[in-house]
């Protein structure tokens, strides 16, 4: 793959920020959108827009075909069946749907929910709330010093009382790739189901929910070249059947009586109200775009960039890099001596480089790292080694800038 040619497909990347060509390294927060996705959304609004599943007219059929076609595409992308794909607003909505509609139905006092210390707030708080509502206990799998999980810890934390295990496939801070298939096996052996936060994995690597044998898998479109406001939740059909909807209203009903109503089949019973049709169209175009490059290619490219970035950044004295050195994805979280990450991000911004600074929605993990905040550079398919060079040079400058002895 040719990242320089791919960069040209992203109109937003072709601009100067503070007098320098933009280097966008905040992809774990959200990715930029290629022309093909922007065009697909535009074409939908200019030609096909109508409400779905109800219009007898031609536009209504076209909009429905586009929306359901997008569902089929997502299903193929994850190796699932269409009826197992629920469109959502994003990963957060998907995880909340499981924590409400499934967890609260099955959990009893004394049951356990197991997560890890590296989870994003969106895979922590829904479970805290579900635990409080049902009397279940929320347990955490500890981390190894390098930010990975040990299978021994997974084995000892998950017990026969565990009903739900929920875990990120990839950590948004450490870049760790968790052994999801093995954890699924351990969960199932104990009679628990496994929920996967796929926000940071889906954009970057091939995901096969059948091969992983996970029960639920949630992801967001906006981190994988699609518009904001669209994502999907995969659930095994039998579990989705058992799960209660969170939103009630139009689109999701079968028969409405005066005191009682019945729902549509899965997945539609979870999609109350007019759905995010243009978003689904954009997501389908994003999947086409990613598949035209190849997810394995993207994964390889980003790993190479991460390795190169770790090498360049390690040469700066006083820098701390967090997370494992091997088996990681294309993001690097670091701190530059005692320079606060917000100051680092501000200096980098004046050089046209966009990175993230803060707690990355991972306060429990920040406490584990004993840092109040960190800086993070995260790569995508359009980033190049030159981008990493610009980052490293700007960090040297930052160090110089903050390094001098203050006047007494």
């Amino acid at each position: 793959m040719d990242p320089i040619a791919l960069k040209a497909e992203f109109p937003i990347l072709n601009q100067d920020i503070n007098g320098h060509p933009l280097v966008y390294l905040d992809n774990a927060a959200t990715s930029q959108k290629p022309r093909s996705v922007i065009e697909a959304v535009k074409r939908y609004y200019e030609w096909d827009n109508a409400n779905v599943h109800r219009g007898v007219h031609t536009l209504g059929s076209r909009a429905t075909d586009a929306y359901e076609g997008a569902r089929e595409k997502v299903a193929r992308f994850l190796n699932a069946a269409s009826r197992e794909i629920v469109f959502t607003r994003g990963t957060t909505t998907g995880l909340n749907l499981v924590a409400h509609g499934y967890a609260r139905e099955v959990l009893k006092p004394g049951d356990e929910i197991v997560i890890t210390h590296m989870e994003h707030h969106s895979n922590v708080i829904p479970w805290q709330q579900a635990a409080k509502a049902t009397g279940a206990t929320l347990k955490y799998i500890p981390l190894q010093p390098d930010g990975t999980l040990s299978l021994a810890d997974v084995e000892s934390t998950i017990t026969e009382n565990t009903k739900i295990v929920s875990i990120a496939y990839v950590s948004n801070v450490l870049g760790t790739v968790n052994p999801v298939a093995k954890i699924a096996e351990i969960a199932h052996k104990n009679g628990a189901i496994i929920v996967v936060d796929g926000a940071q994995s889906t954009p970057h690597k091939k995901v096969d929910v059948k091969a992983l044998n996970v029960d639920f898998y949630a992801f967001s479109g906006h981190k994988m070249c699609a518009p904001t406001g669209i994502g999907a939740l995969y659930g095994k059909a039998a579990l989705l059947e058992k799960m209660e909807p969170m939103e009630f209203g139009g689109e999701m009903i079968d028969f409405v009586g005066l005191q009682d109503s019945t729902w549509k089949e899965i997945p539609w019973k979870f999609e109350g109200g007019t759905p995010i049709i243009a978003g689904a169209v954009g997501l389908a175009a994003a999947i086409d775009f990613l598949e035209s490059i190849g997810l394995d290619e993207i994964d390889r490219h980003e790993k190479k960039l991460a390795t190169y970035a770790i090498e360049r950044l390690s040469a700066i004295d006083g820098i701390s890099i967090y997370g494992p050195r091997e088996d990681r994805v294309g993001l690097v979280t670091f701190n530059l001596g005692d320079v606060h990450p917000h100051d680092v991000a501000t200096v980098l911004d004046t050089e046209g480089i966009a990175i993230r600074a803060g707690h990355h929605c991972c306060q429990p993990l920040m406490r584990w790292l004993e840092q109040s905040a960190t800086a993070r550079a995260s790569f995508y398919l359009y980033n190049t080694e030159q981008d990493v060079d610009r980052l490293a040079e700007a960090l040297w400058k930052t160090k110089e800038f903050f390094g001098y002895e203050p006047v007494r």
Binding site: V339, H340, D343, P406
Partner: protein, 149 residues
Amino acid sequence: MNPLDDLYRRVIMDHYKNPRNRGSLDDGSVTVNLNNPTCGDRISLQLHIEDGVVKNAKFTGEGCSISMASASMMTDAVKGRTTEEALALADKFSSLMKGEAAEFDEYEDIDALAGVNKFPARIKCATLSWNALRKGVESGQGEHEGIEQ
């Protein structure tokens, strides 16, 4: 001066690396714990207020150079002033962040923070300690918790 040098003036770096009034008060009558959940900055400000005068002010906290330097300057600036004067300074600081007030005669180090208004994402860093002051003076005795919106 380039915007970065303007943002990180020597006087700001001095307050950051050698903060004035860092610590806590035994005779503090007012404590305000304020944090900014979006960036993780937090300050714990203690004031000793007697007969309507800020007799002493100290702070602890974690944050970027701008937020910590601003807290250092703020505590220095309000010590010995009446609560009315302290609130007037807080108003003046808000104006400075909007790019309005030109000179901070009462405590001229604060002028160095004028460059922050060119960095909209960083204004909240500079105003954190001043908002803690406002909350402390307005709420009076006791311990107060707050979250910046």
